[in-house]
């Protein structure tokens, strides 16, 4: 803005400025807004059902949030490149199902196979999007239908011995670490989250990720091998989804062919609520973590309200839309 536009006779109100500055401060830190929303939701739960808030409840919320947060972590990385991965749920289901089916070979082998499933799906997605330039929506949509179709067809051949969820996975997903409030899944979640948060900020890959999402053409002209960045991102996303699937099967303690599919849309919603732009280049994992926890708390609030499935869905959808709207209007003012 040029100085000529400022009219000197306009009264300057420091009070209003301070309010605007405070508003700006909140807008610059979406985490503050998200934390407030989370606290409000928890207060609503507590008001509706006194005694809701307990150490055990915190543990339950965290252990249900962990799988969603893993799926949403992958989704965040992909969305930062202006893509979307609609195969996260199918990948997570396949990884969890095959892991349970191969459990008789030993826990370590079964877990390795689960990660391998993620690696393969991610490689195909990454080659499609990065090398062949297929639209990410179409590529991952097609991949989701290939993975879940193939899993259904060959479900039997993936099972050797008695299918079961290994004790290690079960313990990791729902076991308590300290008291009842801190589940053991945090042992996995916290380091991975730290790695993603620090990696996005300080590593070359992280910064290239934002750059590719912001302007892929400028990146290519600057000498970045965009296809390699995309390939790595989709592989990471699928592996994170596979881990999320393994954690989820640990929470549920039974594997079926539709296991993680209810988490597909929430994985996108968590990222959007968390402030990552669907057009890429803006956002990060910290918002996504809060987004995932908010969605889990919201779900438990709606269960507390004893609403029918129909009403629950309507409220859930409206709140996601409302949060996205708040986000869009508040960032537009900047």
């Amino acid at each position: 803005m040029s100085t000529a536009e400022v009219t000197p006779d306009e009264p300057v109100e420091p009070r209003a400025n301070r309010a605007a500055a405070a508003g700006q401060w909140v807008i610059d830190r979406p985490l503050v807004m998200l934390s407030v929303i989370l606290v409000l939701l928890l207060i609503a739960c507590e008001i509706y059902s006194p005694g809701y808030f307990s150490a055990e409840r915190v543990g339950t919320i965290l252990s249900f949030s962990a799988p969603l947060a893993f799926l949403a972590a992958g989704q965040t990385l992909v969305m930062l490149t202006a893509g979307i991965d609609l195969s996260v749920a199918a990948t997570a289901t396949a990884a969890a199902y095959i892991m349970a089916g191969q459990a008789s070979r030993g826990t370590a082998t079964a877990l390795l196979i689960a990660v391998l499933v993620g690696l393969i799906v991610g490689l195909i997605n990454g080659i499609g999007v990065g090398v062949f330039r297929v639209n990410p929506l179409i590529m991952t949509l097609g991949m989701a239908s290939i993975v879940s179709g193939y899993l259904t067809v060959s479900a039997q051949s993936f099972v050797t011995g008695v299918p079961l969820v290994p004790d290690f996975v079960r313990e990791l997903a729902v076991g308590n670490l300290i008291g009842e409030a801190i589940p053991k899944s945090l042992l996995l979640w916290v380091p991975v989250a730290a790695l993603i948060l620090l990696g996005l900020r300080y590593s070359g890959y992280g910064r290239t990720l934002y750059a590719v999402g912001d302007n892929p053409i400028a990146c290519r002209l600057a000498g970045v091998r965009v296809w390699q960045v995309l390939l790595v991102t989709y592989v990471l996303c699928s592996i994170l989804s596979a881990v999320g699937g393994v954690l989820y099967v640990g929470v549920i303690n039974a594997a079926d062919l539709q296991l993680v599919s209810p988490y597909l849309l929430p994985s996108v919603a968590a990222v959007v609520i968390g402030g990552t732009s669907i057009f890429g280049g803006i956002g990060g994992y910290s918002g996504t973590i809060l987004g995932a926890i908010i969605l889990v708390v919201l779900d438990s609030l709606l269960t507390l309200l004893d609403a029918s499935q129909a009403v629950k869905q309507i409220i859930y959808g409206s709140i996601i839309l409302l949060l996205a709207w708040l986000y869009a209007t508040s960032t537009k003012r900047v």
Binding site: L86, V134, L137, I138, V311, Q313, I315, G317, W325
Partner: protein, 335 residues
């Protein structure tokens, strides 16, 4: 494929420029060739049993709901949007039709259909208005709305049920004139002629292509971008209503969960039918054929004794490979 830029190409040339026809309609022609090949494969898979008019009707009624859903998604994608709540909108119309029409006469069933078409337009308008008002990306709004509309569908009908008069069902399952002309095909052709073409060749139709192609340039040329975006979603809502009615006519009942597979398959059919996800390119004729292609694949596999679940794998692979080839062709064209 047609683009807005090509529309303004010099007119009045004598004779047919085959290269231009190939460029503009090559993709659509290709999809129809694929459909023909798949029908031949269907006949071959059926052998030694003869292919009768009944089989033709089965093919048409199997693909009818998806064909309308593909048209809905195509209009929206051409305008530069995408509607992930399309399937549940279809489900809303489906359950409303089945619960309202049960035990009614043909006349009142037609009246109810008209009412539900208006309701479809209203649902689409709500989606479009929310997108324009909130300024949130299309994909996020319609994703959230898919939860909302899904809840509404469940409110109307909790478990599959309801019904429709037989005469109404014959609109989807019957034949028209000759045994070899399925009524469903006539309905699609009629809707394309009566509901889409008048809009397509009018200012508002061009505006839909224009905002999909380049929103800023469309705005600078005097197109009311927001109104056109809402219009595209409203037209999509109308076609979604047709898909819901077709679903009621072909299955005879309402199912609140019927929408899940429709949303994703409608996007797939639109893309396979030559609509560019970037917007501004494509038409509705190609996606109709693509929808039938997508429903023929599992039918053929059933006859071959292959696990029909493989069809999901093949559908997925088909979509990815086709889009990949299209991308490579585009790259070659640019060089």
């Amino acid at each position: 494929m047609s683009t807005v830029d090509e529309v303004s190409a010099p007119v009045g040339r004598k004779g047919t420029d085959w290269r231009r026809v190939g460029n503009r309609h090559g993709w659509t022609i290709g999809v129809y060739v694929l459909l023909l090949l798949l029908i031949l494969a269907y006949i071959w898979a059926l052998a030694p049993v003869a292919f009768t008019s009944f089989d033709l009707k089965t093919i048409v009624l199997g693909g009818l709901p998806l064909a309308f859903a593909a048209m809905a998604q195509s209009v929206i994608i051409i305008s530069g949007g995408i509607d992930l709540s399309l399937g549940v909108m279809v489900a809303i119309i489906n359950v409303s039709a089945a619960s309202l029409m049960e035990g009614k006469s043909f006349g009142s069933a037609i009246l109810i259909s008209l009412l539900l078409m208006a309701m479809g337009i209203a649902l689409g308008t709500i989606n479009g208005t929310l997108i324009v008002l909130t300024g949130v990306p299309d994909i996020v709004v319609t994703l959230a709305m898919s939860f909302v509309w899904g809840g509404v569908a469940l409110l109307i009908m909790r478990t599959p049920g309801g019904g429709a008069p037989t005469e109404f069902q014959s609109l989807g399952t019957g034949s028209f004139g000759s045994e070899w002309i399925p009524a469903g095909a006539i309905v699609i052709a009629l809707i394309l002629l009566v509901a889409w073409l008048p809009i397509r060749w009018r200012r508002s139709g061009f505006a839909i292509f224009a905002i999909g192609s380049n929103r800023e340039r469309a705005y600078l040329s005097g197109v009311n971008v927001n109104r056109t975006r809402v219009l595209a979603y409203a037209i999509g809502g109308f076609f979604a209503a047709m898909a819901g009615l077709a679903l009621t006519a072909t299955t005879g009942i309402g199912t609140p969960y019927s929408g899940n597979f429709i949303t994703l398959n409608s996007v797939a059919a639109a893309v396979l039918g030559g609509v560019s996800l970037a917007g501004g390119k494509g038409g509705l004729v190609g996606p109709v054929a693509a929808a039938f292609c997508l429903t023929l694949v599992p039918a053929i596999m059933v006859f071959q004794g292959i696990d029909p679940n493989y069809s999901q794998v093949i559908q997925g692979a088909l979509i990815v490979v086709v889009v990949m080839i299209a991308g490579l062709l585009l790259l070659r064209e640019r060089r």
